[in-house]
């Protein structure tokens, strides 16, 4: 099934330019008919209160591998042409971009499902941890049961 032509994964402190990243992905997979992408953003209003910044810690070395494995798993399930994943680490202000997941395919369903799948797996398997800092002090974000449940929905019957 996998005919992935372009796979690009990056963990970085720097911000990214969504338009530019999508252009590169399209240039690498010119036969694509569909492109879907997700951007995750730092919300100003967290569950705890007004947020001043988000600090993202990660496990260098493992994060890149985890993202690649997630992309390859997606490419085994859907006929994807290209995948681009970027996850930022370090200190991010409110409204900052945290993560980009993008996929190209011939038809839209593959790209839609693969992007949702990759985000559900990224949320539960890639070693990133968020700390929220704001008028409430600072605390580590708790893992959400709903994210684990979202992942479970993708399990294939054995």
């Amino acid at each position: 099934m996998s005919a992935l032509i372009d796979l690009n994964v990056s963990v970085q402190a720097d911000d990214f330019d969504v338009g530019l990243e999508l252009q590169r992905l399209r240039a690498a997979t010119p036969q694509a008919g569909a492109l879907v992408n997700f951007v995750g953003l730092v919300r100003e209003l967290s569950a705890a209160g007004q947020l001043s910044e988000m600090v993202i810690e990660h496990y260098p070395g493992m994060t890149e591998k985890a993202l690649q494995q997630i992309a390859l798993q997606a490419a085994q399930r859907w006929p994807l042409l290209g995948v681009r994943m970027i996850h930022r680490v370090g200190r991010l202000p409110a409204q900052a971009q945290i993560v980009l997941v993008a996929a190209t395919s011939l038809h839209r369903q593959a790209a839609f499902e693969a992007c949702a799948f990759m985000m559900d797996y990224l949320k539960t398997e890639a070693p990133f941890w968020k700390k929220e800092v704001g008028d409430f002090g600072q605390h580590w974000v708790e893992a959400r049961v709903s994210d684990e449940q979202a992942k479970q929905q993708w399990k294939l019957p054995k």
């Binding site: 995750g40 993202i56 810690e57 990660h58 496990y59 070395g61 493992m62 591998k65 985890a66 996850h87 945290i98 993560v99 985000m119 990224l122 949320k123 539960t124 398997e125 890639a126 070693p127 990133f128 941890w129 968020k130 700390k131 580590w140 974000v141 708790e142 893992a143 959400r144 994210d147």
Partner: protein, 85 residues
Amino acid sequence: MNITILYFARIKEVVNYSSEDVELPDGIETIVALKSWLSGRGDTWQKLFSGGGVVRAAINHELVDDMATFEDGDEVAFFPPVTGG
């Protein structure tokens, strides 16, 4: 055997350091045995690995469960459930 242990996020803050090289007594070769051995260091460690919250583990960058085994020279990591994305 000798392994390196890494700690991340809340767990790093609890144990107060991010990595250590340890020499293990014979028979400590699974994640669950390692957790139990580390718990012997005192209250902080005991509380960390018992009930007080889920501690996830990785061996050489692969997520593993409690029954997974490691070998001499491996890198073992302990961390809370991940919250990226």
